[in-house]
């Protein structure tokens, strides 16, 4: 079960180490982590995508994270209306003959071409996980030379969702 967790943490030395250490020690499977400063330079936001077996496992992840002194707030935002994006850079084999095709493929995904060389070109795309996967799938036959993707970063939407089922016993 894939869940997206958003945490704000103190922007202090070793905080990422603290968090990832906690995950590995308790054998929680992390799919991705992104970290970056918030509007307040003393606070960073981390977005984790984790794979857990059960809501009880998820409950533990959140409680353990919350126990860290450097963690200010943790939320499982999977069931909320969120905007979640990842960024991917794809360097694909591109001959003068295929450049046009690739560009056409990229257009509906609003991917931009940020570098063109003699034998390859680089696309940049942002979007949710499925969109990124779909584009990679289309581009693959041309020959992927290199691919780099960030993990998911996410924020809640400004408008709230109507129902909010709490599946875990987070009590504080």
């Amino acid at each position: 079960m894939k869940r997206t967790i958003s945490a704000t943490v103190n922007n202090s030395t070793g905080v990422l180490n603290r968090i990832t250490g906690l995950f590995s020690r308790r054998q929680f499977n992390i799919e991705s982590i992104t970290v970056g400063m918030t509007e307040n330079p003393e606070i960073s936001r981390m977005t984790f995508v984790v794979n857990v077996d059960s809501y009880r496992g998820l409950d533990q992840v959140i409680k353990q994270l919350n126990k860290q002194v450097d963690v200010l707030k943790v939320r499982d935002i999977s069931d909320e209306t969120i905007v979640a994006r990842e960024l991917v850079l794809i360097r694909v084999v591109a001959t003068p003959q295929t450049r046009g095709e690739i560009e056409t493929l990229a257009r509906p995904f609003r991917a931009s071409i940020i570098d063109v060389g003699r034998e390859s070109m680089t696309l940049q795309v942002t979007g949710d996980h499925q969109k990124v996967e779909a584009l990679i799938d289309l581009i693959k036959p041309y020959g992927l030379k290199e691919l780099a993707r960030t993990g998911t970063t996410a924020l809640k939407r400004s408008s709230k969702q109507q129902s909010q089922d709490l599946h875990y016993s987070f009590i504080q």
Binding site: K63, K67, L72, S169
Partner: protein, 577 residues
């Protein structure tokens, strides 16, 4: 490296003025004074020398261990008995790595501790400098929190926060890594009165609604039982537990670390629960319809196999650490809060007691039919008889410390702890070498009480160099070596589960503990004859200074009753002779 790290040469001349310009080491020690720390356990070395120089100049009460492991276990013993944070100061690299075991021990047993480690100067951190180790990295998973100081002006705030974190909520060790140049830099000393940590807000007051649910569950229950853990002791809630359990007439069992939170000789007390717990206690857990866990973390040594654990019970879990609730056992009524506050709140509801006569009778039957037992042949000293004798001769009033293993379980079974903070044992980590130095710390916490270190012969050999402290300070710790010339519990498991293949668990040759004691100028007795055990112990107990007793006990005695690994509470072995 921050520009604020200045050298001593820049020290302003007018330091006597109220500006309170001090160097980092002085600030650390002043902060300790502000926190009413009256004793430090430690060991000096290169990176922490500036701090030790200030200790010298200021004349602070410092106990010099002979190994850093001794220092930290002593600090643990002090913390466990005094309820105050234990403070341990060591140097960088090997000094710090030598306290890792003690930090892990304090973490798993939730002991309030402040560990100050020296560190190489900030300009060489990360270069594999002499005596450098990434101690913050190493101890991250085994501390409640840790921090490396980079700026002398952060010291007061960091110290204040460290004490706050160590002592509030679920207590735990906090490590402060102090680079040498930071400890020498000049900064301002202004000790903060409050802490501001938005990420650390432990819930002390339990939720009212949840408390009501607990009270209602008790009203509904026919067969309730309270499992009280060390959380009751950390919260100083033994009186409230007594009042509540006796008022509601609910039987009580303790975890190993919770012993002493309820009087060990009270009719409502079922004895310790768990792997070597009493049959009545374990059967109560197995058969109860309501299990009220107050301040215990459902450790696997208490629960046995989780698939068989308390199958009939509605589970109430009161814990100050929300992450403990639901971690191992699914909980019907979770209560996040301090054990004392939760019990107070329950008492305040003033519910009339429910008669549980049938349940009491049922459990009494277990207690009467399946008491602790051992076969006494009168030829050798039976360890169980020895522990029973220690209990009688100290009138149950001593502070008892142990290592891990058979002697620990026998002490837990036979020393019927009646009072809180008299039982110091390495529960979660099961640390050999813990008990003896912990007794030293305990003796500093309770200078006027008998402190008895009940130690196996193997564990004693791990930290026995601390006899130096006893010698130096004439500390009246009484060392009771339960000597079976083996790693008793390892030997027992090999006998039961490894077809008697005693792989490296027997000591064919033992040191002469009497001569060792003599080398440290400590009075010692070797006792082999069961008829002399009591008189010799009585005699030694009356001595003013330290005494070592080398009790040679039956070598192949096993610790029973027992829940074998993977079994449930109802499947105890060795409940009858």
């Amino acid at each position: 490296m921050g520009t604020s790290v200045r050298t001593q040469a820049e020290k302003p001349a007018n330091e006597e003025q109220q500006t309170q310009k001090l160097n980092g080491s002085q600030i650390v020690l002043r902060a300790l004074a502000e926190e009413n720390v009256d004793i430090i356990f430690g060991y000096p070395g290169g990176a922490i020398l500036p701090t030790y120089d200030e200790i010298y100049k200021m004349g602070i009460h410092h106990i010099l261990a002979r190994h850093e492991q001794g220092a930290i276990h002593a600090a643990e013993g002090y913390a466990r008995v005094s309820g105050k944070p234990g403070v341990c100061v060591v140097t960088s690299g090997p000094g710090a790595t030598n306290v890792v075991t003690g930090i892990a021990d304090a973490m798993i047993d939730s002991l309030p501790m402040i560990v100050i480690t020296g560190q190489v100067a900030t300009n060489v951190i990360g270069t594999d400098a002499f005596q450098e180790a990434d101690v913050v990295g190493v101890t991250m998973p085994i501390t409640k929190h840790n921090i490396q100081l980079r700026d002398v002006n952060d010291i007061p705030r960091v110290m204040k926060e460290a004490f706050h974190i160590a002592t509030t909520g679920r207590p735990g060790p906090v490590l402060i890594d102090l680079p040498k140049d930071v400890s020498m830099a000049i900064g301002e000393f202004k000790y903060p009165k409050t802490v501001h940590m938005p990420g650390y807000q432990p819930t002390v007051q339990p939720n009212r609604l949840q408390i009501k649910k607990v009270a209602n569950a008790i009203e509904r229950a026919k067969k309730p039982v309270i499992l009280a853990g060390a959380g009751v002791l950390h919260a100083d809630g033994a009186d409230e537990l007594f009042e509540y359990a006796t008022k509601q007439q609910i039987p009580v069992t303790n975890t190993l670390l919770g012993l002493g939170s309820f009087p060990g000789n009270h009719p409502l007390f079922l004895g310790m629960a768990g792997m070597h717990g009493l049959y009545a206690a374990n059967m109560a857990l197995h058969e109860c319809d309501l299990l009220i866990n107050v301040g215990a973390r459902f450790d696997d040594r208490v629960t046995g196999s989780l698939s068989h654990f308390a199958p009939e019970a509605e589970v109430v879990h009161i814990d100050v650490d929300p992450a403990e609730i639901g971690k191992n056992v699914e909980t019907a009524i979770p209560v996040v809060g301090d054990a004392k506050e939760a019990l107070k709140n329950l008492l305040a509801l003033d519910k009339a007691p429910v008669p549980y006569d049938e349940w009491h009778q049922h459990l009494r039957h277990y207690s009467d039919e399946y008491p602790l037992w051992y076969n006494d042949d009168g030829k050798t000293i039976k360890p169980q008889a020895l522990l029973d004798m220690v209990y009688e001769e100290t009138k149950g009033e001593a502070v008892v410390t142990t290592d891990v293993g058979q002697h620990q379980m026998w002490a837990a079974q036979y020393y019927r702890f009646a009072n809180p903070h008299r039982w110091v044992t390495s529960g979660g980590l099961g640390t050999m070498g813990f008990g003896f130095p912990a007794a030293i710390g305990a003796q500093f916490a309770e200078p006027n009480r008998d402190v008895v270190a009940i130690i196996g012969d193997a564990g004693f050999q791990m930290t026995m160099q601390e006899m130096s402290i006893l010698q130096e300070l004439n500390l009246p710790v009484k060392i009771v070596i339960v000597n079976n010339a083996s790693l008793g519990m390892v030997r027992q498991w090999q006998e039961l589960f490894y077809e008697e293949r005693y792989s490296h668990s027997l000591f064919p040759i033992q040191p002469d503990f009497l001569k060792l004691a003599e080398a440290y100028n400590i009075k010692a007795y070797k006792i082999e004859d069961p008829s002399e055990a009591r008189t010799t112990f009585q005699k030694g107990l009356k001595e003013d200074g330290p005494v070592l007793f080398d009790f040679r006990v039956t070598a192949d005695e096993n610790c029973y009753p027992m829940i074998a690994p993977g079994k449930g509470h109802h499947e105890m072995e060795g409940i009858r002779p």
